[in-house]
């Protein structure tokens, strides 16, 4: 029972999702939506485990005076302030939660995101080298599209934007399609293995 039940639940939940796709008649028609709501609720409960884990690890760090334990205070303070203000005082504009979100979370998020500009530069310096045919194709396609999409490219040669468009619409589209079809088959096969209980490592043990 202990071992069989999870396999049966997996199969039933997956089968329900598939039925919901093909059968518009109720109660099947709205199954996908209902199960998705259920999932969100379970994920919200699991959040307690995650945040609990974070608190446990960092309070242990502070207790043990591990190297850099001072930063754990910062982390716990940020977590506590955000969660407590958010739950007790609401999350609308004008609240402390909103102020912290707008002046801490948003700028740090967008700065982290903007680091990409630097990493794109260092990655292309390193990786875009014509070591072999494959790398050379990567390089040429990358450079042509890059140049074709800024005014500078247009100034050098007025056909650059057309070249960039052609690369995007023909060889790029072909490659992307092959990748997408391959992924779909991989997903179908993985899902079937899970639903049929052939892949069950995630459920083994006592």
């Amino acid at each position: 029972m202990k071992r069989q039940a999870p396999l049966i639940i997996t199969f039933l939940a997956g089968f329900a999702m598939i039925l919901g796709y093909f059968i518009p008649h109720e109660p099947f028609g709205s199954l996908q939506q209902i199960l998705n709501t259920w999932y969100m609720v379970v994920a919200a409960f699991a959040m307690i485990l995650g945040v609990g884990n974070l608190v446990k690890l960092h309070s242990a760090k502070i207790r043990r005076r591990s190297p850099g334990f001072g930063y754990s205070y910062v982390l716990l303070a940020g977590l506590a302030a955000m969660a407590l203000f958010g739950i007790t005082r609401g999350i609308e504009p004008g609240t402390v939660f909103y102020w912290m979100w707008w002046n801490m979370h948003v700028p740090m998020s967008s700065t982290m995101f903007s680091l990409l500009a630097f990493f794109v530069a260092s990655a292309s310096y390193r990786a875009f080298r014509a070591r072999n045919v494959e790398a050379a194709l990567l390089l040429i396609a990358g450079i042509l599209v890059m140049i074709g999409r800024v005014p500078l490219g247009d100034m050098i040669w007025s056909r650059f934007p057309d070249v960039a468009d052609w690369i995007m619409n023909v060889p790029n589209a072909a490659g992307q399609r092959a990748i997408l079809i391959g992924i779909a088959l991989g997903v179908v096969s993985t899902s079937l293995r899970l639903l049929l209980g052939i892949e069950r490592t995630y459920l083994t043990g006592d």
């Binding site: 504009p93 707008w102 948003v106 998020s109 967008s110 995101f113 500009a117 630097f118 794109v120 530069a121 260092s122 292309s124 310096y125 390193r126 875009f128 080298r129 014509a130 070591r131 390089l139 990358g142 450079i143 890059m146 140049i147 999409r149 800024v150 005014p151 500078l152 490219g153 247009d154 100034m155």
Partner: protein, 280 residues
């Protein structure tokens, strides 16, 4: 270690510094590369240009912090154009983060053009619900927004007094970063109520809206920072978009230069190692 090797193994922090300079310098000292205006941006400009002064337009800010560098410059350009032409924008947002950006854009443009709140424009604020709000607007603006963003009833705002529903606005402009965004506005405002819809979106999502442009469901579209720069060219005001385009052009050139240097040193290194092998 030869010169070529040293260049090849260059400390990546030097690359970071060059990239940062390539962005900061054009922002401070705009260069002014000529910008080609694409037809979809020109169409949008023409649609606004053809409105008689005093017309009202609805402008929805449906984007957030992560896409603001691309879309915020568009809103500046469009607001400037409206104010200069005497067209009166009615601002709203279907994304909570959109309104702070709208307010910032208004602050800048209103001061420049000397406009008055309530007379020349209105800000209805944020409303959750997406498509439901769009449909409610079709019945009555007052139903969707009983008060404006500052708590004033719509009936007390001069510019809103002659506005009942979509019938009384000339065009709907959407600054869109996702859902709810341009597709929903096309479905409701254009499809159900027959209002022309135009707008701006991120560079990455622009290609997916081309079919709407071809079908005439969108009167015009700005894609990414480049779209904003093109609009600035049309209204003859260089600002964020154009400055950003300079920075982008320079940064692109810098990256291409890095790639060229990388390849040159790579081949130089291979050539010298082959020669060494030959002599030993």
């Amino acid at each position: 270690m030869g010169f070529a090797d040293r260049i090849r193994e260059i400390d990546r922090r030097i690359i970071f510094l060059v990239v940062a300079l390539a962005i900061i310098i054009p922002l401070l000292i705009p260069i002014g590369f000529p910008i080609q205006v694409s037809p979809s941006v020109r169409d949008l400009y023409n649609a606004l240009e053809s409105l008689p002064p005093g017309s009202k337009i609805l402008m929805s800010f449906d984007y957030g912090a992560s896409t603001y560098p691309e879309i915020y410059p568009m809103s500046l350009a469009l607001l400037r154009h409206c104010f200069r032409r005497g067209v009166k924008p009615i601002i709203m947002g279907l994304w909570p983060e959109g309104i702070p950006f709208a307010e910032r854009a208004l602050q800048v443009t209103v001061e420049e053009e000397g406009k008055v709140y309530g007379e020349d424009y209105a800000n209805l604020g944020f409303k959750a619900g997406g498509i439901v709000v769009m449909q409610a607007l079709g019945r009555s603006f007052e139903e969707a927004f009983p008060v404006d963003a500052y708590g004033t009833p719509l009936s007390d705002i001069p510019v809103m007094q002659s506005v009942r529903n979509y019938d009384n606005v000339a065009i709907v402009i959407d600054f869109s970063a996702g859902d709810p965004g341009i597709p929903a506005w096309i479905m409701i405002a254009q499809g159900r109520f027959g209002k022309p819809v135009g707008g701006g979106c991120t560079a990455v999502s622009a290609p997916q809206f081309f079919p709407y442009l071809q079908a005439g469901q969108l009167v015009g579209l700005m894609g990414g920072m480049k779209g904003a720069a093109e609009y600035e060219t049309l209204i003859r005001t260089r600002d964020l978009g154009s400055a950003g385009m300079d920075a982008q052009s320079i940064a692109h050139a810098v990256i291409v230069l890095f790639i060229v240097i990388g390849n040159a040193t790579f081949f130089l290194g291979r050539w010298s190692s082959r020669r060494n092998k030959g002599t030993s």
